[in-house]
């Protein structure tokens, strides 16, 4: 298993990918209709997943595939559809021709500067990989990325899972006052269709299986809680869109506990580490792997719920079928 068995074919794939990615990026920035730009962006995320595979970052590729094409696509496509009526007025805000030229030149200069940096990267490249490989066995996990996320740089991961909660509070906080505490209402509610219902009934069991598999496997192989949580969130949202379930009301106390339990368990184990292993977020000898798995399991649930609710948007109304539009008409 050599890294580049055949240099030329591999390089052709890479070059094709780069051209495609740049072409789509150009389309996203330059096309006039926002909806087309968003569709281009979804395709762009898909290609980026393949790019990550080519860069030997399979963990990242999974995250990109799940977040970039799945959840972000839903979020942005929905927003573009709802913003379409306002779009015609946007043309007025365009900067003038000369200003655009100037901006273009400056951006090109920045890109060229970055390109120069890429070409001048030190060779041999500095790396922390040997250090990680050396320190991986004590953690008991076999996937170096998971090891970094949960053992070596656990503070980053903790802050990240904490930061998702304020992000959700931020989304909720743009709700209109009377709607506070109600059910999220940004999800699209298409006309009920048997195909959609079928998809929402058949796909989630597979999705949940794959999500659990990703989390469980993430200890030793590519995968992990973010990827698994994204899949779980996507399945939940699919069920909500199909109308098989209603999104939970924001004031629901059990929901709120679910949202923060992951970070709390993480912090709790981290604080316990001060006494048991002499450092915040350190794991006692021999217990690293079970503790990491426990944290991953609870964090997965919390992250999945948070991601799903981020997509579902701010609370809209208490009306069972109430979207934003219904609540506005009545008010």
């Amino acid at each position: 298993m050599t890294r580049y068995p055949v240099m030329t074919s591999a390089l052709v794939v890479d070059a094709a990918l780069v051209l495609l990615v740049l072409g789509l990026a150009l389309w996203v920035t330059s096309t006039r209709a926002a909806y087309s730009a968003v569709v281009g962006f979804v395709a762009y995320g898909l290609l980026m997943a393949i790019v990550w595979v080519r860069l030997a970052a399979v963990d990242v590729a999974m995250t990109e595939a799940a977040l970039g094409t799945g959840l972000t696509g839903l979020l942005l496509l929905g927003a573009a559809a709802r913003l379409a009526p306002y779009e015609a007025a946007e043309v007025n805000g365009r900067p003038g021709r000369w200003l655009r030229l100037l901006i273009g030149l400056l951006c090109a200069a920045i890109a060229l500067g970055l390109a120069a940096v890429v070409l001048m990267l030190p060779d041999p490249a500095p790396t922390l990989a040997p250090l990680v490989a050396e320190n991986l066995p004590p953690t008991g996990v076999g996937n170096p990325v998971t090891g970094v996320l949960l053992a070596h740089r656990a503070i980053d991961t903790l802050l990240e899972s904490v930061v998702l909660v304020p992000a959700l509070i931020g989304v909720w906080s743009v709700a209109a006052d009377p709607a506070w505490g109600g059910r999220p209402g940004s999800l699209p509610r298409p006309r009920s269709s048997s195909a959609l219902t079928l998809l929402a009934q058949v796909l989630p069991p597979f999705g949940i299986l794959i999500g659990i598999h990703l989390v469980w496997n993430g200890a030793d192989d590519p995968g992990g809680k973010f990827q698994g949580a994204t899949v779980l969130a996507a399945m939940w949202i699919l069920v909500l869109i199909a109308g098989l379930r209603e999104p939970p009301a924001v004031r629901d106390r059990r929901l709120r506990v679910l949202l923060v339990i992951g970070a709390l368990v993480f912090i709790g184990i981290g604080v316990a580490g001060i006494w048991l292993a002499d450092a915040f977020l350190a794991y006692p000898e021999g217990y690293a792997k079970p503790l990491i798995l426990a944290i991953e399991a609870v964090l997965t649930l919390s992250i999945a719920a948070t991601l799903g609710l981020l997509l579902a948007g701010p609370p809209a109304s208490d009306h069972p079928s109430g979207g934003l539009y219904e609540s506005k008409k009545s008010g």
Binding site: A195, L196, L199, V202, L203, F206
Partner: protein, 110 residues
């Protein structure tokens, strides 16, 4: 034996690639959304299916083979559903629009 399996891989993967090409040509050349959708679903199911078939002899672990088949089945399931949904979106079942060809409905309402 090995040669035969390799040959199977080459034939099936090439055929699959060909179906992708056919699907693309159809997507580009066919006159309206529904016929394009038709071309696309052919490429989806047959192209991917043939590629998976071709790759099966090349993987050693049975679990990996199972994974390949699972990918194909999932793609079929979502492809079929999405085909339904997109077709519904391309031609909404309103009586005043139903008789129009999809492309006219698309461009004339602007």
């Amino acid at each position: 034996m090995n040669l035969a399996l390799d040959l199977l891989t080459i034939v099936a993967v090439s055929l699959g690639a060909l179906f992708f090409l056919a699907g693309t040509v159809g997507l580009l050349r066919f006159p309206d959304t529904l016929t394009r959708l038709h071309a696309l679903t052919k490429a989806d199911n047959l192209g991917l299916g043939l590629v998976v078939l071709g790759l099966l002899p090349q993987v050693s672990a049975p679990l990996a083979a199972l994974g390949l088949i699972a990918v194909w089945l999932l793609a079929m399931l979502s492809g079929a559903t999405v085909g339904q949904l997109l077709a519904g979106a391309a031609r909404p079942p309103d009586p005043d629009r139903a008789e129009m060809p999809a492309r006219d409905a698309v461009s004339s309402h602007d």
